[in-house]
Symmetry: C2
Subunit: 415 residues, 2 copies
Amino acid sequence: MYRILDRDSVPEYLMSLPNVVDVLGTTSNLVIDEIGDGNLNFVYRVTNGDEPGRSVILKQAVPYLRLAGEDWPLSRDRMTFEIRALQLYNELVPEFVPTIFHADEEMSALVMQNLSDHIILRLGMIDGVTYPKVATDIGVFMAETLFRTSAWGMDSEDRRQLMDRFTLNSELCKLTEDFIFTFPYMTHESNYESPETEAWADANLRNNAAYKLDVLRFKDLFVAKTDALLHADLHSGSLMVNQDETFVIDMEFAYFGPFGFDVGKIISNFILCCTAHHHLPGGAEYREWLLDQIVVIWDTFSARFRELWDQQGESAMLTAGLLSAEEDAQLKDAFMAQLLQESAGFAACSMARRTLGIAGVADIRDIEDPVVRSNLEIANLELSMLVMANRTNLSSIGDLLTLVRDFYSQRSLDS
Amino acid sequence: MYRILDRDSVPEYLMSLPNVVDVLGTTSNLVIDEIGDGNLNFVYRVTNGDEPGRSVILKQAVPYLRLAGEDWPLSRDRMTFEIRALQLYNELVPEFVPTIFHADEEMSALVMQNLSDHIILRLGMIDGVTYPKVATDIGVFMAETLFRTSAWGMDSEDRRQLMDRFTLNSELCKLTEDFIFTFPYMTHESNYESPETEAWADANLRNNAAYKLDVLRFKDLFVAKTDALLHADLHSGSLMVNQDETFVIDMEFAYFGPFGFDVGKIISNFILCCTAHHHLPGGAEYREWLLDQIVVIWDTFSARFRELWDQQGESAMLTAGLLSAEEDAQLKDAFMAQLLQESAGFAACSMARRTLGIAGVADIRDIEDPVVRSNLEIANLELSMLVMANRTNLSSIGDLLTLVRDFYSQRSLDS
């Protein structure tokens, strides 16, 4: 029966799970740290006090939005979808996701590998740390998970069976629909309070019909395109990294959506951080590293995606004997070009939402000087509008980078 | 427990259903006609021999594709989806669908209103009969069912709940993927044997990269866009009509797909019939009537769709306070323009499939003279390619009609 766990009840719960005892050992000396910095759930790191090398992560969903408190009910079902996604990712890309020790749909709880040598990528990036593998790892992760859960990489019926396991992740889809694709573009009580930025948005963004209609086009894709199983919250806070490894966490938003949403979201986080490093101490060199990573992410992603496609036999979308080799190459070129533009559009939405909406990025929000902060926020909004307006002219990832670099050089944000 | 019904067992089955007895009366004199001309199921018209005004239709799915026989297994689940769709349509548009007397998922059987005064639209159209209401009725039916099951007309969570009831109509989706979007465009044993037409297609259509890649774009939309609950087999054989009424039947293909698929499919059936009437006795006048109906269908559909949109309060896609009145009008214009182009693309696929694929239209296939028939088939393929290539230039339904009319006048098909 479901009950909310706390420091007092965590030990008994964990010690009742044989697979977890195998990892933690039997002990009455468990050290329990509540480490959840997320908005939705409780997350505990539990360590054997006698053998600190033995530890696990326990994540439990509560029946409300943790960020907002018990007044904002939110079904615990989200943990069911996180469990399903994490189990699938453990089959598809085990090297990039935590090992599961125990998955408990009834308790809406998940016990998994403690990534003790890794930190949240966002925090590392705010500190100006470079990670040599993160961009390629992200590219591979996205290519493997997106291609292999899509109609290009799956049989038609198998795909519908898989899709059926995620259709009802409705509440978290609704959060995205509201907080990424709706509220930031209008006056809404949930938006971030930053008077100058708000005033700029009212005067320049919220009255830009073309931009808002584009945002709605991408909302429609988010709502109604079911290309593949997305992580659907793939930002730099959902990645745990060190110099050697990259882990993807927090897949409670997982659902079938458009390819470009995962790709665009992660790209936008590198741009947002790049803007922040016009103030943060990383400076020009780190900004270049950040922008270079966008190229590496895309190049790795698109190369691996095409590789998987080349290796794929028949699938829902692929039929031997339908296309000549030349037509096949043409299809792939057109597909990847279209996906790049779609990713750029989603990146634009993500940049606006992270600036105007309730959930900002620490990269910017933690800057104390309101003048500096607002200046960077407005730059991010300008970038969002620039990328959105020019997305259909992008024929390579280089074009996107040129757009961003030219903007920064003309805008002279250096403080 | 499921068992396949036959003439001998139908009476006992029906007489065990109180709601059906209310309609038929209690009698041992039931007249049973097997009237299924479809490819999938058995359909019986059952009449009380003593009171011929009392009758019902009994439709049962068997665990194989009826057209192909027991060697082609096909799950009876399709009846579950037909029942669900028909029940929903009875709520949304009761005036356009048969009344349900009994729905039996276990028996994969449906007992419904006998439309004794109506004939299949396709047969009437082959005979050159005009129906004053059919085009407006089709337009209203599509607008009501498509808008009101979409993210524009539904709340986000309700929509996902509804979508969840249709996700697993996998086998019938797969039939469409194969037979509409794949096999006709390649050499495939299932294709129709019409040597001259095949030769033309090999030389002109199956080697046209741009066209085939467009077809694949529409296949991708069919597979992965979930705009609304579609009928998904809305051709002139799925409509029963007379001078006063229009009924939509055979919704076993129902699933969440792209708006334009229903719209394009029905439009294509009027074009195919128009081509046929260059040989059939309807002549120029009837051909004009057929083409005019396409305009009426579209105009009625788009006007009603916009009307429903205007009346809609908030929904997954609509948020009060987001758009100005001007932006809202702009969005609707762009949406309808895009939907017209999408519908044209799906119409193009449907025309090719009905010509080259296993399931033709009687309008053409029943023409005995192979030279005449092949001439018309090739014309339909040319039209398919013409519409596909020009779809993104269409800014009104008039543009589509001009394209078709110009083709006919230059091609001089009159025999």
